[in-house]
Amino acid sequence: MKNMRFLIIAFLILLPTVSRAADDSYGYPIPDSYAATILGTPDQLKPELTKEVPVKKLVLDLIPNLNKPDIFFYDDGLHFSLALQKQKAPLVFLIPGTGSNDTTPRLLSLIKVLYNSGYHVITLPNPTHPNFIISGSHSHVPGDLTEDAADIYWAMENVWNKVKGDIEVSDFYLVGYSLGGTEAAFVAKLDEERKTFNFHKVLMINPAVSLFNSVSRIEGLLDKIPGGPRRIGVFFNKIVAKFAEFHRTGDFIDINDEVLFEAYKADLLNKDEAGGLIGLTFRINSAGMIFASDMMTNSGYVVPKNKALGNSDSVHDYFWVCLHLSFLDYFNEYFFPYFQKMRPGLTKEALIDSLSLKSIEGYLKSSSKFGVMTNENEFILAPGELDYLRQLFGDRTKVYPRGGHLGNMEYRDNMAFIVGFLKK
């Protein structure tokens, strides 16, 4: 379903503080970082695209002898989306953010812009998306940047083998946003050894520097809701009621972007509520991730070990449990023990350090193929991390004055920058 997460957010929304046009030449209109993250870019400020994009789906069986629980009967392999040019053209691989796949409107926009600029485009789900966990990951435990990068690379090689007879490619490029941006760096590093693609340029859009820091910061947004993270149900109900009341009293016919922007202008939500909503959206994504991983590994984390779940069995209790588990819970109780078993002697600190761009900074510094696009008010970065990016990538770091986390990615200047960076 195309816009499901968007719809969920739509039912919730909106936001603090009216925008007063900031005094600079940058035209993205929403100053508040949380509001920008939730609202994104108004349609009239997105680039105008002329060509219709023929997006094709491709499903590949990548893991031999995959033992899949009945409840995932619909998962028939890893899902790719392809928009291919008829003539010879450069090819961009796109990696979306946490829990996202090709049903994410933001990713579709990126596909359209790149295709319209003359690129072949291929996307795959993020390694934290259930489809990737089930059908793309060899361990079925997402979050380790090095392992996930190897799985991504394997998937890319496979899809390339499938299409290379049908298209002509001049050069390969790699673009990732959010967690996908961080992963892109690790994929590029692997490519230096394997050399299947020899990526010409790699663009990281709003990446995390340290996964642990970024996810902790997003989780921290839930600390500010009344009663804290254990009361997300109460919080959610309150926001829905607020939005329903707003919708009822306003003269709205449908539920769409217009209602969201009106709610924003009316200051329907305060800053803490907007932040809580972002934290909650993250939890909804991570719930599917935790459940899928636990089912695939039969670890007994949220689902009893050896439990046979069929399609008609209710999984609501598991949904509720997963929604209430924080990233720290997942990290301490599931993720770290798993890798400790694999790599005896591994400490928590060492694992946390490995989940960061800093662990490969020598390589990143030495290569001129990287570029970064992010924002001054990007809240997933810890203090000092923006400066770190500037240090690491120098003048290949583009920092916009506002936009929060990905809120301005679809804005026309930003889209033009993305294309411009690849073309340079």
């Binding site: 379903m1 499901m4 409840i71 995932f72 796949n101 259930p130 984390y301």
Partner: protein
């Protein structure tokens, strides 16, 4: 009821049976004993649930959800892609407009049932405009004249009359519903059948049953063509609950109007 219609019904029944049986063909192997999970729902019972719709038939509903997925996969998706491939876009729009225009009748009598005067007049205006200037509903000039399309059905009429929504119900083909909306659908279908029988637009035409079946089939294809939702399309293991939530909230929001 004629032989042709009966044949179509048989075909649908056969399809339903085939798909249901396919769903049952799982092998039950002996499983090792279950071990309780590290976290259970009892830890999180103190938070408020986010459910506003009763779902006592979840098992049945989930089976229907899967049934619809298979129906899409083996029937609607190929048929709709074929339809989209062979018909030019303006023809598709014409078809959609035509069925929307037929649907105005449903909105009209239900607006009247609910004593919504403005909606009734608007809808009547649309129907007359599009049926005449819009050449039998193939075009939609009414919208460009500022007459926005309204939507009412008997399910909403029941709500206005004070009937509770009843439990969540996933129906074959139609998808997410409540007992109330499903009953409303049945009533609207009955009224439509009565109207068509009374007018009998194809009275003296040879092969009239064939035409009627064709019209209904095209309507089903148009319905699926308009709807971008795909069962299990999000790939999220909890999609069923999100769809249920969105369905209940959406009808709650829009019905308040």
């Amino acid at each position: 009821m004629s032989i042709t219609i009966r044949r179509v019904k048989l075909l649908i029944l056969a399809l339903i049976l085939t798909l249901s049986v396919a769903g049952c063909a799982t092998i039950t192997a002996s499983h090792p004993p279950e071990v309780p999970a590290m976290h259970t729902v009892s830890e999180f019972k103190d938070d408020d649930y986010v459910v506003r719709i009763a779902d006592p038939w979840e098992g049945f509903n989930r089976r229907m959800y899967k049934f619809n997925y298979n129906l899409d996969k083996y029937f609607f998706n190929p048929v709709v892609s074929g339809y989209e491939f062979i018909t030019p876009t303006f023809v598709q729009t014409g078809v959609t407009n035509f069925y929307n225009n037929v649907g105005e009748v449903r909105t009209l009598y239900n607006s009247l049932f609910q004593a919504k005067v403005k909606k009734s007049l608007l809808t009547l205006g649309r129907f007359v405009t599009n049926s005449t200037i819009g050449i039998g509903g193939l075009f939609d000039p009414a919208t460009s004249f500022g007459l926005e399309r309204q939507k009412e059905d008997f399910g909403q009429t029941l709500r206005v009359w004070g009937v509770g929504s009843g439990p969540y119900l996933v129906l074959p083909i139609l998808g997410p519903n409540t007992v109330r909306s499903a009953s409303g659908f049945a009533v609207d279908a009955g009224i439509r059948y009565a109207i068509i029988s009374a007018i009998d637009p194809f009275e003296n035409i040879k092969g009239k049953d064939g035409i009627e079946v064709g019209i209904s089939t095209l309507e089903a294809i148009d319905m699926r063509h308009k709807e971008s939702f795909r069962y299990y399309g999000s790939g999220d293991p909890f999609e069923y609950y999100m769809v249920r939530f969105i369905y209940s909230e959406k009808s709650e929001f829009l019905n308040k109007k």
